[in-house]
């Protein structure tokens, strides 16, 4: 195991975050605050409660999920896309590192950033509303699993993308709609039965539902189902990354 390499990549990526601190941390905090002001205060004052929880509190897990997904994907995809784009990836390709080590470095760093971000958003939320967390361990587990999984997905995206357009299309055209339609800001019980069933096809629903359960014990699907699906998706993404790296897909001509 080349531990020095994992640490080198991890530190390199974390240093990159420090340089872009505003973009990485401050921007999401501001946008989260705006969500609370608009959804929580303005609209929430009309919607008193959803399933026994105040509307402001109800949207917190969804907001955290939205940020985890977007930032895991964009951080990890950029981390590998950029070296590929400027050519510095030659060094990683010629280094005595295994796929697992490369992934541990890049995805580990991207996931770390997302987890920190998730916690900052949670903290920001407490300035606006009272939050109780029924199952903090499960909440943390969910945040960690989601961050790792979507960082893996971002890594795949970064390897696959051969231009900036492809890089930004997945987060904005796929993830954002899925998050908004996945019950982040409403309960699917508010929808007609047909759309309730359609919502069950949205993978993000399982994540939001699971995270919300860890907060308030309210869920659209069983927590076990949520945990199982995120774990399965993580393994799938991991296998795909290993496959891509081992075959040299888009990395080694």
């Amino acid at each position: 195991m080349n531990v020095y390499a994992i640490l080198a990549i991890y530190k390199f990526e974390m240093a990159r975050t420090r340089r872009t601190l505003v973009q990485s941390i401050v921007a999401p905090v501001i946008s989260t605050s705006l969500y609370f002001i608009v959804f929580g205060a303005a609209i929430g004052s009309r919607i008193t409660e959803v399933e026994g929880v105040s509307y402001g509190a109800f949207i917190v897990p969804g907001l955290i999920m939205l940020n985890l997904l977007m930032h895991s994907i964009s951080n990890a995809s950029f981390a590998i896309y950029f070296p590929k784009f400027v050519g510095t990836v030659y060094e990683v390709l010629s280094a005595p590192v295994s796929t697992v080590e490369v992934v541990a470095g890049y995805v580990g760093a991207a996931a770390t950033k997302s987890i920190i971000l998730g916690m900052i958003i949670l903290l920001t939320a407490t300035f606006f509303i009272d939050i109780q967390i029924e199952h903090p361990i499960i909440m943390l587990l969910f945040v960690v699993l989601t961050s790792i999984t979507f960082s893996l997905l971002g890594f795949i995206l970064g390897i696959w993308a051969d231009n900036f357009e492809k890089l930004s299309v997945v987060p904005s055209l796929i993830v954002t709609p899925l998050v908004f339609l996945g019950g982040s800001f409403y309960s699917t019980e508010m929808l007609p039965p047909f759309w309730q069933s359609v919502s069950l096809l949205n993978p993000v629903l399982y994540l939001v539902s699971g995270l919300r359960w860890s907060f308030y014990e309210i869920a659209e699907v069983n927590i076990i189902v949520s945990l199982a699906s995120i774990t399965a998706f993580m393994l799938l993404c991991f296998s795909l990354v290993v496959y891509m790296f081992t075959t040299g897909y888009k990395l080694r001509s």
Partner: protein, 312 residues
């Protein structure tokens, strides 16, 4: 087998066809000895970078094998890659990192524990010490090239690849670089460099390999190559111009200049007898006199151009 005489690098039947169907390497076979400096010469697009990239793990071979110190580059990539340092042809550096951190990063990536004293030495040897805290983005092209060399040397490789290291490089960097190459050679490092500048190969290489169209045309010790394929010319400035080469001299490969004022005699440096003495005697007999005599020797460049022309 005796470890001392085993080649450090063994390339066998190596082929590379890129995805588009272009064959960049055709059945390359090459042994490189430990501690030697070998220069790979070849025109643009010959396949030099492709060959290096396969050995370093950046490009996958289509068939054939490469061993470094007896280890296969695919099966034992950890062993082989940790022995290799690569200075790439393109100036591909990070932008926002400092010189120090990018060099330290390379060392870590190659699985070595931190050794600030070593990195300090590398940076000082490359006149980068004053710049160690500067952002790479702010450096000139020459300085960036130095950073790439420093990165390659950060993990103390035993085999060093320099892919066109002096393309577009100023005199002082060339000097620094050759000093480092000498020092590394003295320490037993094997150096494989590619270049367009034949003087460079002439200056520092022990052996020369010529690549053209993906084929390794020949590999030869530099001195042997030059004596085997090198030619010498004697130019005689005649006191009286000639209109044609006298028939008495037609056994010699002589050329007469356009104006008839010079006789040019070309001979191979490889032969035991050059025929110069006999020619001079015969000139006297033919009553041809000359004012002056010049000799020129073909450089590696001429040899190279001939080889490449022959092969294509």
């Amino acid at each position: 087998m005796n470890a001392v005489t085993d080649p450090i690098l063994t390339i066998r039947d190596l082929n590379k066809t890129y995805a588009g169907g272009f064959q960049a390497l055709k059945n390359i076979n090459l042994d490189i000895n430990e501690g030697e400096i070998i220069a790979l010469l070849g025109p643009n697009g010959a396949g030099k970078t492709t060959l290096i990239s396969v050995i370093c793990g950046i490009v996958q071979a289509s068939s054939g094998s490469v061993q470094v110190a007896g280890f296969d580059i695919v099966k034992n990539y950890r062993k082989t890659r940790s022995m290799i340092g690569l200075v790439p042809q393109e100036l591909t550096t990070d932008s926002f990192e400092s010189v120090w951190s990018t060099v330290a990063f390379s060392r870590g990536l190659f699985g070595k524990s931190a050794r600030p004293d070593h990195i300090e030495k590398v940076l000082k040897d490359l006149s980068l010490w004053e710049k160690k805290d500067d952002m790479i983005m702010t450096l000139s092209g020459g300085m960036k090239r130095r950073v790439l060399i420093a990165k390659a040397l950060s993990h103390e490789p035993t085999v060093l690849f320099l892919d066109e290291p002096t393309a577009g490089v100023d005199v002082s960097l060339r000097k620094d670089m050759w000093n480092i190459v000498e020092e590394l050679k003295a320490a037993g490092v094997t150096i494989i460099l590619t270049t367009h500048y034949i003087e460079e190969a002439e200056e520092i290489a022990d052996r020369v390999g010529v690549i053209n169209n993906g084929q390794l045309i020949l590999v030869e010790e530099k001195t042997k190559l030059m004596s085997k394929l090198g030619k010498k010319q004697v130019t005689l400035d005649l006191t009286e111009s000639l209109t044609a080469i006298p028939s008495a001299l037609c056994d010699y490969s002589l050329e007469l200049s356009e104006d008839g004022n010079q006789l040019i005699y070309t001979f191979s440096t490889g032969g035991d007898r050059t025929g110069v003495t006999a020619l001079l005697d015969d000139l006297k007999l033919a009553n041809i006199h000359f004012r002056d005599l010049n000799t020129t020797q073909s450089s590696l460049e001429d040899i190279f151009v001939n080889l490449v022309e022959e092969s294509s």
